[in-house]
């Protein structure tokens, strides 16, 4: 699969259209983010599939933001799955990345990954390689919607109880770029307690995912306590879609409703 990607990036590099390609590299059985500056490095390209499809994905957009801040005049290509493209569209609107300086290299996700993610759109518009997968059925949210109020409280309090406040969910999130984070604010979440203020800590994070969460699933993968964060944020996206008519990562112009103060 990487042959098409490799060729596309090779072309971009040799034609000088990009300064470098931010993707993933495989070495000695380990997959990690890498900035490919020379065509000869492209031998080691990986798409983030080690044993299962997509089991070694990283928040590349987050790294791209850091890179772009240091080198604002250079153009970079970036490995982009369906979720990554949703992220890019929002980051352009949030002024964290410059659209003119980013070339997405699109990869479509296979069916089993799309189903595991319950992904709305498992392929980017700028598809270079990979399938144009189907929208997957949503079950995780439906299961909790099916519980009664008491059942839901018991479920969530039980899940959040295991939280060790590692901030992994926030740290790995490709959409979290705030300099001052609300969940680190002592007046909102008390310091020195494990689990942190239950359910305040997680509800604050959930509310901040409005118009931000692109459903990439990296948060849930980073949680050492296996808290079903993604299910919570999926529900947030559902509510926002129903009540406010906004879906994160689809429009290149319309901003998130929570972006607007007043009105």
């Amino acid at each position: 699969m990487s042959q098409k990607i490799r060729q596309y990036v090779h072309q971009l590099l040799s034609e000088g259209k990009i300064k470098a390609f931010l993707g993933l590299r495989e070495e000695n059985g380990h997959i990690m983010p890498h900035l490919f500056c020379e065509p000869q490095e492209l031998e080691q390209i990986s798409l983030g599939d080690r044993k299962e499809p997509g089991d070694a994905r990283y928040p590349l957009n987050q790294l791209l933001i850091r890179l772009a801040r240091e080198h604002p005049d250079d153009t970079f290509a970036v490995l982009t799955r369906g979720c990554d493209e949703r992220g890019l569209k929002e980051l352009f609107k949030w002024n964290q990345l410059n659209e003119e300086r980013v070339v997405p290299v699109g990869v479509g996700c296979p069916d089993d990954l799309a189903r595991a993610c319950e992904c709305e759109k498992p392929f980017p518009d700028c598809l270079i390689d990979g399938p144009q997968g189907q929208k997957a059925d949503s079950e995780k949210v439906a299961r909790i919607d099916g519980m009664d109020l008491e059942g839901r409280l018991k479920f969530w309090m039980g899940e959040f109880d295991r939280c060790i406040k590692c901030f992994g969910c926030r740290n790995v999130c490709p959409m979290c770029f705030c300099n001052e984070c609300s969940i680190e604010e002592e007046s909102l979440v008390g310091k020195g307690e494990i689990p942190p203020d239950n359910p305040t800590f997680h509800l604050i994070r959930a509310v901040h995912m409005v118009g931000r969460c692109i459903d990439c699933g990296l948060c849930e993968e980073a949680c050492p306590a296996d808290i079903p964060l993604r299910t919570l944020y999926k529900k947030v996206a559902d509510i926002v879609s129903e009540e406010l008519g906004y879906r994160t990562g689809y429009s290149i112009e319309e901003k998130s409703p929570f972006n607007i103060i007043g009105g």
């Binding site: 931010l22 990690m32 900035l35 080690r50 790294l63 590692c166």
Partner: protein, 135 residues
């Protein structure tokens, strides 16, 4: 221009989580858990997530410090080592070897910790050696 992820092991506890140090243009800027490391499989605790902060912290010592007239002052390695050796020798003579205890660290290598306990048991002559991961 260079950006690379350097695979390494967390310097804190004995778990040995695999992590990727994010190095941008020669500077350590962030940390990511390694998705392919078997121990942690893409997860880290809060200490692991913040390793890059202590490495580049401006609060890190750059010279040895010796207490003179009740205040810690900058000194040279020779002065500091001479002072430590002299005082340890004195205390061992006056109070006996068991009045001295040594505290090792998970941030040292195995070899450094081995040397430390050898120093403790053979040079000082006490079994009072312990380690921060035991807390």
């Amino acid at each position: 221009m260079e950006f690379k992820a350097v695979l390494t092991t967390c310097p804190y506890c004995g778990c040995g989580c695999g992590m990727l140090l994010q190095v941008l243009d020669g500077k350590l800027v962030a940390v990511l858990p390694s998705k392919t490391a078997p121990v942690n499989q893409g997860k880290l605790c809060v200490k692991g997530w913040t390793v890059h902060e202590f490495v580049t912290s401006p609060k890190r010592l750059t010279t040895p410090l010796v207490r003179k007239d009740g205040t810690l002052r900058e000194s040279s390695w020779d002065e500091a080592l001479d002072m430590a050796a002299m005082r340890l020798r004195e205390i061992k003579k006056e109070e006996g070897p068991d009045s001295i205890a040594i505290f090792a660290s998970a941030k040292c290598t195995n070899e450094e910790n081995y040397l430390l306990q050898k120093f403790c048991r053979v040079a000082i002559g006490t079994n009072n050696i312990d380690h921060c991961a035991r807390l």
